[in-house]
Subunit: 592 residues, 3 copies
């Protein structure tokens, strides 16, 4: 053999081993992205649902693994049947010695990513059981089949459709499922305020409970993305170029979003900038190996704008409530990345010299672009169709959404028996814009439904002497203190506002009564729930009779169940409003 021939063999052999190991390291990095999704979703939602969202992110991987063994893997990579699916089979059990372990692990972690995207958009209100089911359907059927088209030798791959690491196959599919799921579920209670005609008049923000871990999640995802985009590289030049584009696109996207929100909203928005990094990563995923630095910059810049548009579009046009921005990040930028291949693919990218994948802006004409559009359209249609069927069936059989009471209480407690994912921390998880009459039946006044006898036993016992008792001091002012359940807070606030109460002080306390809680289990041990989180409202009134306040509170909080709360009235000697120096009655008027 000549030296040249030997060197070529050598290089081939060593490259093959190196990239086989790197392929697995990449897979491990993609697994690690599960942690990123879990942290992003836990960070951007409310603390009362943290345990639930963590559990969902854990289970979609675990359930996905089972589904992928049973059916998914062979549908994806089995012998091609008519370009549509792989042939189902059980080589993993029957022919383990020759099984393609590497590809199994690699495709499994990608598959799990698809499923996990959905949980963010449907967070804080989805039934856990329903989640497990549709997550399994995505991992076992929806994803493997379209991924077979794109990566498993199916019809799209035969046509030359290019989606290197899954802008389309993974992110768009996850994002479309997320959009449809969130739309079918409906918004979280209080997300949209309606006027009397039922028209939405206001969009309300629910700030994330833990931006530190939310940001950590974004960093985890970005780090993992070097594996996500790079794992399938086959030469060191290609890998290095992928690393470059995978760095440039999100960085530019983040800068663009920061500047855009700064201009548009007056201040640079933290959580939107974090989303922008992910948007840039999603967009560069399909073209990461075929575009260059300039392409990555443009793709990133568009992604940065697109994510801002997407969040606005869902809130103000589609009126779909997506707590973590999964649709804007994964669907919109998944589509954009898929199309971007048709615009920015260039033969100067290492490994793409002779593939013929060349974009419109790099002299490739519309050939690649049209194939990309076709791929986007068919995969989107497939996803929309199948996931809708799945959701509709689940909704009909067991329901998609938890009850309003469960949603307000939080899924940690109601779905998992976990009083708090942050036990020991004092949480004041009061969405101050809860509008109970909007998309819930909690607005129905239990007082109106109570029997006459119950009403008589409750409200009317107020008598003259009580009124006398209530005003013992010449100041004529009283403090009314109400201790009740956290979930009744918003209703009470509104009722008091309607009565003319213009200021109150709210404290979250721990109430302790004789009644035991509902026997929560933590790791199989029943928890002593004598200490329950309660809310304490303090209102000082002068002109408004104490009786009216007491009556209103009773009417508002009455359900006839243990835990309705108590009202205490204290005499007040004096009230001073510092700014104006007004005292007593005048000090209690907030009329400016």
């Amino acid at each position: 053999m000549t030296e040249e021939a030997i060197m070529s063999l050598v290089s081939e052999s060593s490259t093959s081993t190196v990239f086989a190991v790197w392929f697995l390291i990449g897979a491990a990095l993609v697994f690690w992205m599960q942690a990123g999704f879990a942290m992003v979703e836990a960070g951007f939602t409310r603390a009362k649902n943290t345990g639930n969202i963590l559990m969902k992110n854990l289970m979609d991987f675990c359930i996905g693994t089972v589904m992928f063994i049973l059916i998914g893997f062979s549908l994806l990579l089995g012998e091609d049947l008519a370009g549509f699916i792989g042939k189902p089979g059980f080589d993993i059990f029957t022919a383990y010695a020759n099984f393609d372990f590497s590809n199994f692990v690699f495709n499994l972690v990608f598959c799990a990513t698809t499923a996990t995207i959905v949980s963010g958009a449907m967070a804080e209100r989805t039934k856990f059981l329903s989640y497990c089911i549709y997550s399994g359907v995505i991992s076992g059927l929806i994803y493997p089949i379209e991924a077979h088209w794109i990566w498993g030798g199916g019809w799209l791959s035969q046509m030359g459709f290019h989606d290197f690491a899954g802008s389309c196959a993974i992110h768009m599919v996850g994002g479309i499922s997320a959009l449809i799921g969130a739309a079918l579920l409906g918004p979280r209670i209080g997300k949209f305020s309606k006027d009397k005609d039922g028209k939405i008049k206001e969009v309300n923000a629910f700030p994330g409970s833990n931006l530190a871990i939310g940001a950590l999640g974004c960093f985890i995802l970005w780090f993992g993305w070097y594996g996500f985009n790079g794992a399938a590289a086959t030469s060191k030049e290609q890998l290095a170029s992928i690393f470059l584009t995978t760095t440039v696109a999100p960085a530019v996207a983040t800068c663009v979003t920061m500047v855009f929100t700064w201009i548009k909203y007056g201040k640079p928005d933290v959580s939107m900038s974090l989303n922008a990094s992910l948007a840039g990563l999603v967009a560069i995923t399909a073209p990461c190996d075929v575009t260059d630095c300039f392409g990555a910059i443009v793709i990133g810049a568009v992604a940065g704008l697109l994510v801002c548009f997407g969040v606005w579009f869902l809130d103000y046009v589609l009126r779909v409530d997506d707590p973590v921005g999964a649709v804007a990040v994964h669907m919109m930028n998944g589509i954009w990345g898929t199309i971007a291949v048709g615009l920015f693919a260039t033969p100067t990218a290492p490994g793409n010299e002779e593939t013929g994948v060349v974009g419109l802006f790099y002299g490739g004409g519309t050939h690649t672009l049209l194939i990309q559009l076709l791929g986007f359209a068919t995969v989107a249609a497939w996803t929309a169709l199948t996931i809708t069927i799945a959701f509709v069936i689940i909704k009909a059989l067991i329901g998609l959404r938890v009850s309003e009471e469960e949603e307000i209480t939080g899924l940690d407690e109601t779905e998992h028996g976990l009083p708090s994912a942050y036990s020991g921390f004092s949480l004041m998880d009061m969405s101050n814009t809860l509008d109970v009459n909007e998309n819930t039946n909690l607005g129905v006044d239990e007082y109106d439904k109570a029997s006459e006898a119950m009403k008589k036993a409750s409200v009317p016992v107020v008598n003259a002497s009580a009124v006398v008792q209530g005003t013992p001091l010449e100041s004529g002012m009283n403090k009314v203190v109400i201790v009740t359940k956290l979930s009744r807070y918003d209703k009470l606030k509104k009722a008091l506002n309607n009565l003319g109460v213009t200021g109150m002080t709210v404290t979250q306390v721990t109430g302790c009564g004789i009644q035991k809680g509902a026997g929560q289990m933590y790791r199989g041990v029943e928890m002593d729930m004598t200490l329950l989180p309660k809310i304490k409202l303090e209102v000082v009134v002068s002109n408004i009779p104490v009786d009216s306040v007491v009556e209103t509170v009773k009417k508002t909080l009455y359900t006839g169940k243990i835990g309705d709360g108590k009202i205490f009235v204290y005499p007040v000697s004096r009230v001073v409003k510092i700014r104006t120096g007004e005292e007593d009655f005048a000090a209690l008027q907030d009329v400016e």
Copy 2:
């Protein structure tokens, strides 16, 4: 040379370099698992001990490194002496140029894992100094010697004992140490409630303070485990198969546990499912390279059940308090994984074609199984013996456990002078089930111990006029507010309950007095401790005389030291119980 001969050489050479680098990447991933342990343990324990548990996880690695340099490494990998230990030596200093750097780093990070397992089971009550000592003993002596048997050319490795990545050598050893340590320490105050005969009548749950970082820790561990199990692979097929089994086993374990807890406790348990992932990982650690997908499924399924059983077994049978489930995860599944090699090893696993390690269920008979059982038994005996000696000596010399006062206050403050690991967060870390008479001497009533003069100076000054002062309004109701130290809360609650007080509102406040705190140092700077965390209890009484309440509180809280607290009495005009409409006296009775 023929082409074939060349290619074989080439492949060998490149494989050797690739796997040498991968070996180190794997070691870095195993180092990263330290972060996983730190997060799991910090997340699953109470916030008042977070700084302490983080410090322990940091220090076991650092102290372990020093011990490993001094003695551990040579005991493990030095020249074999009679199959029992490696020959101690200092090649690391005297022959650095030819030192086996790779193996040093690799074995060090594994060693540190063993030590770190123990901290979780002994969390929240172990003296920090004692921890440092026994952690050093594990890293310097206990682990290196048994690891020499298994991996260092010792007698077990000569017999063919198979423990690829350490189910036995690391997890079981760490788990046994954890069990013995936790048993010797005794349970945390309040973990087990006893009846009058001293029989345990109830197991109490202490929910983790931060499940978000607890879950993150599990994801970190799972991610790191690809390095843990894979680092020692020597071919790409073997590595890929290891990745497959390392993915399948924990995924199946988690699914099984989710279903099991769902059925058994009515709801899918979040923290137990997280533990199950770790259990599956521990169990697959020994057989990861010799079993196949089917084996991994069965091993994982058993691990999922075993971890539930283990937690229950410790709580309800052994009555050992293991805050993070380290014994159930590491000891039980370490044993299970060790034995599983003897059941599920198969020649179809790549690299295991000709080793003769074949399990009972794959036609290997009992040969391998018996060796595995022998290895388990001898290593378990070695560990139990040596760690018991270590603990007993430490207990005798400096004690293992902090004082009850320190435990209730929290180890952050008492062991590290850190007022809170979550400074600025309002923590309500009240274990509502503290039973001070159980395993603590806090139950001894300081009031009973005070001199007569002190008593006289304190309690009896209540006089008739005060009683008159206490009932100024015709309502006859008073609010008694007590501001005192957090650690006295439980005692006070019980005393008031005994007096007939049936409801109270508890708020954590920040109390500010003239007295300075104990001069806490933070990073060498003394902290101004005028703001101390206090607890405020509000009780409204009508039928129960204010005097009785005041007397009881005084008697209960009296210690004669600064910080006993104050009692305030306010007149109340009116009380309404919303559910029933009852007012005043009637409203204060919780008799249902």
Copy 3:
């Protein structure tokens, strides 16, 4: 070809591919360190600035990327011009096919590390816009030029200056910038208490808000450091030795610091030990490839002491406020590591056999040491000069520091419109040592500035009848409750102390008034801010007339703006001091 020749070629070829891939994996690990810096800085600062610090850590990477594309990369690695800079150019756009992708990514992530170090020292008070600008200047100019000297073929590299992974080029440069920035900014409000002559009499600690993620950040950094130090290795022996020294130095540093703080402050300090790990890593960064285990031990031990000294030195000598210890960790140990090469370099380190880089203690004489000192001095001078110019210009044009009001409120809200990074968590972020007269103009009494008419309208309306109202019970005691803004707390506390009030109870509450907040935007959605965080102070007074208290509070809190707060006075029946049994007036005296 002979077998030997073939094998040599083979080994070269496979090594080259392996280390090319490892180079990129290393770069990904260094990117991951961004997450580490973000978590360390978020964990060690106060919760009200968490969103801001996360955003800064995100943006320095993203802005740095843009700057590095535009100018930084070519300044660093472009064709050498006179040993001073690389030739600016745009090969990344014009010659993508032959661009050095690998080196671009690798040097970019290192560059971003330099910039990110600064944010920690300047945390909690720097204007976000100014941060973006100077971060861009560091990434685009300051770092690339000095890195060109050291790594880009510049004059220092030609002289044989050795800084393998950047103790000097990165950490010292970042650390010096941090020191100058922190000094120019001035300390956070309340960091140093002054006596009447303006002399600093006390250093106050601001404990970190989230040590769990702070510790996680340290683990992330340590893990990432294996990539940071190892990425540029070229043989497996060298890489393994680097892993060894990179493990030993921080472990020893941490042990030394733990012991040192234990002895010095009585207890092992958690956060200082975490800093010590980083200090050891910084110090070993330059010599990681040229020293041995013994060298690493000594370097680590010195680093552990140096970080303690550095924190003390800044607090007590330089009086510079560095919230996270960036100067002590990065600057001091960066210098130490640079010099350590000249002391501990040894030819026994793999790959260093023939380089001539030999330290004083290993028989190399002063040659290497002098070059190292020269490099340190010139790079330090360059950095100090250029960063000072940058800061001075920024300060003159737009200012470096936020206003005092913004600082007390927190940068999350004022710079990003984010009410809290931990939404739903109850935060009690009261620095109890705020001294408003120190380095802020908040001390100016708004009351003194108000017009006579405003004063008249406010304070003097207190009349005789109000006094009568204030003492309705014969107890003669009153509770005065003040609800006001969190930022006024400290001033109020002091005023009340001066009045003779000796105890108070503080609760963080959520206040609800009619007035709307300032229209905060969260992800483009306006937040309903009717619920504002407020502070509630409760003071019970007997001897001190209620009127004096009311007057004092009014005078202290008055600004004439909405949000000044309200004062409530309640009658008190009785007060008991538990420890002494004293009642009423006597119980309110804290005179011991």
